[in-house]
Assembly symmetry: C2
Homo-oligomer: 340 residues x 2
C-alpha cells in the first residue's frame, strides 16, 4: 500500500464545490425527494425499510436524482412532478447497487459495510427487487408513459451492461469497445435517462430532451471512467473506500485495457495471472498500479474523462445561461475532479 | 426415502386434463405469447437469451400467462393486447424464479438444473433484473397505466412476501397468519394480477375485474398450499423434483405450523433442531413426514386448498357459462389435484 498516500484535505475543497452548487440549486426539491424516498421505502415487513434505509438514507451523493431535478429546472419546469421521478431514479440506482454488491461480493460501499455484508445476500436481492418495483410504482403514480418508456428501457440496458461486464471479466483479450459498451450501459444509461425525464416533465421540444440526454450520457461516461481510475488511486483509501476492487474482481477497465495493449510478454503474463487466473500474491496491486503509471494509462483515462465532461457541457449549448446551466456545468467539472 | 413411493402414471391422467382444457382454449394466443417471450428475451449479450432460455423456454406450465389469456377471453376480449401482457406476466414470474433459486440456493427446478446451478448466482440475479425490466417494457408498449399499476403493485407485494418468508424462516413460533401473508404476497398476488389485467384489456366494468382478481387470488392460495404439501410428497420425487426443500430451508409452511401446534415436547424439540438450528440428521425428513401424517396436517392443508379452489370457482359466478369459464373452473380443479 506504499502508493496509497495521504492527501491534503484542502486539495479537495474546490472539487466538492461542483456538487454543492447543484445541491444548493435543487435544495428544496431534494428535501422533498428525500421525504418521498423515506416514505416509499417503508413496508410492514420491517427488514425492508431497515435494509433499504442502510443504503438509501445513510449516504450517497444523490447525484442522479439531483440531475433529474436540475434538468427539469434547466428546461423551465416549475411544478413538483420531477420530485417523484427523481425518487424513482434513485430507487433504480439503489436497487442496482444492492444487486451489484451481491454480484461483486463487496463488503464496503461509501465507507460503510454493504447490505449484503450485514444481512446476507438473500435480503439484498429481494429488497433490490422491492425498490425496483417501488420505482415503477412512483412512475405509474406520475402517469407519463414517456417517462415509463425511458426508465424501463434504461433499466433493461443497465442489466445488459452488468451481464456484459460479467462476461468480459477475467478476459484480458477483451477490447476497449466492449469496455465502452459496459460503461455506456451500466452507468451512462441511467445518467442519460435521469436527465431526460427532467426535460419530459417540462414538456419541452424533443431537441431539448435529446440535448439533456446527451449531457447525461457523456457525464455518466466521464463519471465511470474516473471511477475506474479511482479504483487504482490513493485518494480512495483515504475516503474509507477500498482500493483495487476491480483488480481483485478481474474487471478489465480502460486503464488495464490500455496497459495490456502496451505490455511486454512479462507484463502480459502478470495481468493474465492476476486477472484471468485470479492468482493473487502480496504486492500485486502495487505492481499493477506501477504498470498503469509506467504506461500512463491512468492519466490517459482521466484525459478521456475530461473529453467526455467537455462534451457534456457542450451538449447544454442550446440552453440559456443561468443558475441551472451553470450548476450542471460545474457537475461535469466535479465528475472529473472528484476524489470520491 | 421409504415414503417416496412409485405412483401409477394412470393416476395423473385426469389431473393433467385440467390444464389441457385451458391450453386448448388459449392455444393460438399462447403460441403468440411464446413467440413474444422468445423475441423479448433476446439481447446482443449472448448469456442473457442463453440463461433466460434455459428457464423460460425449456419448460414451465405457463399457468400465469394462460390465466391472463383466459381471463381476457372470459370477459369477451377479441384483440391481441392480452398476448403482450401475458408475456409480461411470465417475465415477472421468471424473474422471481431466478431470484428465488439464488435466495434458496436451489439446484433443481422442473427436473432440470437451476440457472444458478449452471451459471452461478451472479448472472441469475442480473438476468432476473433484465427480464423484470423487459416485463415493464412490454407493459409500456401496451400503453395502459391501469395495467402498469396492477403489475407494479403486484411486483412490490411479491418482493415483500419473499422478504417476509425469509424473516419467518427458521422460526418455529411463526403463526399461521404470517404464513398466509407470505402465500398471498409471494404467490397469490401475481395470480390475481395476471387475471385482472385480462379483464382490464377487455374494458369490462370494475365488478368483473374484481371478480377475476378474486378468482386469481384464491386460485393462487390454493396452488401454493398444494405446493407446500407436495414438498413433503412422494409424487414430487417421481417427477424429478426434490422433496423436502422447504424442510431443509427451514420454511415454516402450513403443514408444519399445524403440526407444531399439536406437537408434544419431544416433537417440538425435533422441529426446533431441524428448522431453527438447521441441524439435520439422516432420516429427519422421513420423521418429519411421519409427524405431519400422524397429525393429519398434510390432509388438512389439502382440505384448505380445496376450499380456496372452490372459492375461486365461486368468484366466476357473475360470468356466463361457456368454454372460458369451464376451463378456468377446471384449472381450479387441477391446482388442487395436481401432482406437479
Amino acid at each position: 500500500m506504499a502508493l496509497v498516500a495521504e492527501v491534503d484535505k484542502q486539495e479537495r475543497g474546490p472539487q466538492k464545490t461542483g456538487l454543492e452548487a447543484l445541491a444548493r440549486l435543487v435544495d428544496d426539491d431534494l428535501q422533498a425527494v428525500n421525504r418521498l424516498i423515506v416514505a416509499h421505502m417503508d413496508s410492514p415487513v420491517a427488514l425492508i425499510p431497515q435494509l433499504a434505509g442502510h443504503i438509501v438514507a445513510a449516504g450517497g451523493k444523490r447525484l442522479r436524482p439531483m440531475l433529474t431535478l436540475a434538468a427539469a429546472r434547466l428546461c423551465g419546469y416549475r411544478g413538483t412532478r420531477h420530485q417523484g421521478l427523481a425518487a424513482s431514479v434513485e430507487f433504480i440506482h439503489t436497487a442496482t447497487l444492492l444487486h451489484d454488491d451481491v454480484v461483486d461480493t463487496s463488503n464496503m460501499r461509501r465507507g460503510l459495510a454493504t447490505a449484503n455484508a450485514v444481512w446476507g445476500n438473500k435480503p439484498s436481492v429481494l429488497v433490490g427487487d422491492f425498490l425496483f418495483s417501488r420505482a415503477f410504482q412512483l412512475m405509474v403514480a406520475d402517469g407519463s408513459l414517456d417517462v415509463l418508456r425511458i426508465l424501463s428501457n434504461a433499466a433493461a440496458v443497465i442489466a445488459e451492461g452488468e451481464v456484459l461486464q460479467l462476461m468480459t471479466a477475467n478476459d484480458t483479450s477483451s477490447e476497449e469497445s466492449a469496455y465502452m459498451q459496459v460503461v455506456e450501459a451500466k452507468t451512462a444509461a441511467l445518467f442519460a435517462a435521469a436527465c431526460r425525464v427532467g426535460a419530459v416533465v417540462a414538456e419541452r421540444p424533443e431537441a431539448e430532451e435529446l440535448a439533456v440526454e446527451r449531457y447525461g450520457r457523456d457525464l455518466g461516461i466521464a463519471f465511470q471512467l474516473v471511477d475506474d481510475v479511482l479504483d487504482y488511486s490513493a485518494l480512495q483509501a483515504e475516503l474509507g473506500k477500498s482500493v483495487g476492487d476491480d483488480f481483485r474482481d478481474g474487471k478489465i477497465t480502460l486503464p488495464v485495457v490500455l496497459a495490456l495493449r502496451r505490455a511486454d510478454e512479462g507484463e502480459k503474463a502478470f495481468w493474465r495471472r492476476c486477472l484471468e487466473d485470479q492468482d493473487h500474491q502480496d504486492g500485486d496491486l502495487d505492481t499493477a498500479i506501477a504498470l498503469l503509471q509506467r504506461h500512463g494509462t491512468l492519466a490517459e483515462t482521466m484525459a478521456r474523462a475530461r473529453d467526455y465532461a467537455a462534451s457534456a457541457r457542450d451538449a447544454l449549448a442550446p440552453f440559456a445561461d443561468g443558475p441551472a446551466k451553470a450548476a450542471l456545468c460545474e457537475v461535469a467539472e466535479f465528475c472529473v475532479e472528484r476524489a470520491y
